[in-house]
């Protein structure tokens, strides 16, 4: 059951070029959110008829909910103007999140703002074996690495231009690690959020290895609660293919459910 909380902006700060951390006093939501769930935000400053914008939860702790977002369009541009003390209506907790009792080494794979739910996940996993694989075009797309480090999560980086970590895609360091785990016969579990290409690459690897893969999908949304069917993703469940609602049946899907 979701609720619509009147939150108050506590902190609003840069998280890299074009990225922002938004910390909201939202005690009701903070108490119930689980990693991989998202919230639906009514952006102050947009016209009163504007649709809400969905954001994953970067952190939920001590009465506060933190979002990590990228300014990409008019909604996020308006959001970037809210100030500490401003009221923000936030709907949540929405969708199904990640499982938080992995059966193997937790491997988190993120791209861009896709690291947001992975941070909340890492925090709840509290698993010293957890590794974050993160990719971006340049080092400017690598976000919140210090926050992962503070959780004791090992971080392996790749950038297309080689400005940080390995040069190339994040699948480079990931495949290296997978090879190592396979060689040692260790079980692992994949968690990913980011651009569709990355999600598919990770899902393929989970399926090929027969390891669990948890894929968080980013689909344009309207209601955020399953009421409008705007946000579908083709999935196979119990042998049947149908259009699942990402906001309700997802945003986190099992790798084997997804029909690309």
């Amino acid at each position: 059951m979701a609720l619509n909380e009147q939150s108050v902006v506590a902190v609003h700060e840069d998280a890299g070029p074009g990225y922002r951390f938004l910390v909201l006093e939202a005690p009701q939501l903070a108490a119930v959110l689980v990693p991989g769930q998202f919230v639906h935000v009514r952006v102050p400053g947009l016209e009163t008829t504007a649709l809400r914008r969905p954001f994953s939860v970067f952190d939920a702790d001590a009465g506060r909910v933190t979002l990590l977002y990228k300014v990409v369009g008019r909604g996020t541009a308006a959001l970037a103007h809210v100030r500490p003390g401003d009221a923000v209506e936030v709907m949540g907790p929405l969708g199904r999140g990640f499982p938080t009792a992995p059966k193997g080494v937790p491997l988190l794979v993120g791209g861009g703002y896709g690291v947001a739910p992975l941070h909340f996940l890492a925090k709840r996993l509290k698993d010293p074996r957890a590794v974050l694989f993160v990719g971006g075009r340049t080092k400017d797309d690598l976000l919140a690495l210090d926050r992962f480090a503070a959780l004791g999560v090992e971080v392996r980086v790749a950038t297309n231009d080689g400005s940080a970590g390995a040069k190339g895609f994040v699948t480079g360091p990931l495949d290296e690690a997978l090879d190592g785990l396979r060689a040692r016969g260790e079980a692992y579990e994949l968690f990913t959020c980011g651009p569709d290409g990355l999600l598919k690459a990770v899902a393929d690897r989970a399926l090929a290895a027969g390891m669990p893969g948890w894929i968080s999908m980013d689909r344009h949304m309207v209601c955020g609660v399953g009421a409008c069917f705007a946000c579908i993703q083709k999935v196979r469940r119990a042998g049947k293919i149908f259009n699942a609602r990402c906001c309700m049946d997802g945003p986190v899907f099992k790798a084997e459910e997804l029909v690309w």
């Binding site: 059951m1 979701a2 609720l3 619509n4 009514r42 016209e47 009163t48 008829t49 504007a50 649709l51 809400r52 209506e89 709907m91 689909r219 344009h220 309207v222 209601c223 609660v225 399953g226 009421a227 409008c228 069917f229 705007a230 946000c231 579908i232 149908f242 259009n243 309700m248």
Partner: protein, 308 residues
């Protein structure tokens, strides 16, 4: 104390406020965010005989003052709806769950009738009425064609009328030169009430990619921007019929709903506004009560057509 109860063509509503089909799922999705005690009915997403996948993504485009959608009537089919979703609704919403208005559609006159019959036979006391969608702009083989020609409309409404004892609403399209012949067809075929309006056919083009934003190319416009057009259609319909009218189209505050009542509506539905603020339902209800009190109406039913 304002009496908020209304009779919508045989459907007894404890308040004159319901939800617009397609904006409130199967009724349980907004539990926790909407005060269901302020709803006189809940109208659910369009249901047809078999499961229907709907259109490809993207299915929506935000526009100033509204929304263009081309969901394409995705749904699980009448059996899953009747077995699963209706039960889920009553369980989630609880004892005082308002009656459901089940929005139905089909690819043929026979299918419309069959869906109506199946739902009527389900004999579930929470099902309060049927609303025939003959005006969805987003499914080619579907609803719209039945609503474009008064003769075809008469036929399909007659068939559904014969198939159900439930109160029968017919939801009409706004893009007609005159609503009168469509209203007459519904009356003649035995409809109990009218729903006005469905979305207005619309299109949004991304000028950078030079492609329509919606996978379906075109869609239907809803939200605040359609409100003045909807008020006119309700007014026109009320002028030519005694059938009660369920009015919808761009209700964002009580004022918008009150305009509908004065134009001739018996009940109102909140649609697109819910996406932005589920609290609109309660504030429309409360604003109606306050307006009646302030203007000396003891019953909301007195507002219908009450132009000075």
């Amino acid at each position: 104390m304002v009496n908020m109860a209304v009779d919508l063509g045989g459907l007894k509503m404890r308040t004159p406020v319901t939800t617009a089909s397609g904006t409130f799922g199967y009724g349980a999705e907004y539990v926790g965010m909407v005060d269901y005690s302020k709803l006189g009915a809940v109208t659910v997403k369009g249901v047809r005989m078999d499961p229907w996948p709907g259109n490809e993504m993207p299915r929506h485009a935000e526009v100033p003052g509204g929304l263009v959608n081309a969901i394409g009537l995705q749904g699980p089919g009448v059996d899953v709806f009747a077995a699963h979703y209706v039960r889920h609704y009553t369980r989630q919403v609880g004892e005082n769950a308002p009656p459901l208005i089940v929005n139905i559609w089909g690819g043929s006159v026979e299918e419309y009738a069959a869906v109506a019959r199946r739902i009527t036979e389900a004999v579930n006391s929470v099902i309060g009425a049927l609303e025939m969608n003959v005006s969805c702009p987003n499914v080619k083989a579907g609803g719209h064609t039945f609503g474009q020609d008064p003769k075809v409309l008469y036929e399909v409404v007659s068939a559904v009328r014969a198939a159900t004892t439930l109160p029968l609403l017919v939801k009409l399209a706004p893009n007609v030169p005159s609503i009168a012949p469509y209203v007459k067809a519904c009356e003649d075929a035995g409809a109990d009430a009218l729903s006005l309006i469905n979305t207005i056919p619309a299109m949004v083009i991304d000028i950078e990619t030079r492609r329509p934003v919606l996978a379906n190319r075109t869609g239907g416009l809803s939200g605040r921007c359609v409100h003045p057009a909807a008020v006119k259609l309700v007014y026109d319909a009320h002028n030519v019929t005694k059938l009660p009218i369920l009015a919808m189209g761009g209700i964002y505050e009580a004022k918008d709903a009150i305009e509908f009542f004065l134009a001739g509506a018996t009940a109102v539905a909140v649609g697109t506004a819910t996406f932005t603020d589920p609290g609109v339902i309660a504030s429309v209800h409360d604003g109606l009560v306050a307006y009646c009190e302030r203007h000396g109406f003891t019953s909301v039913a007195e507002l219908t057509g009450a132009l000075a």
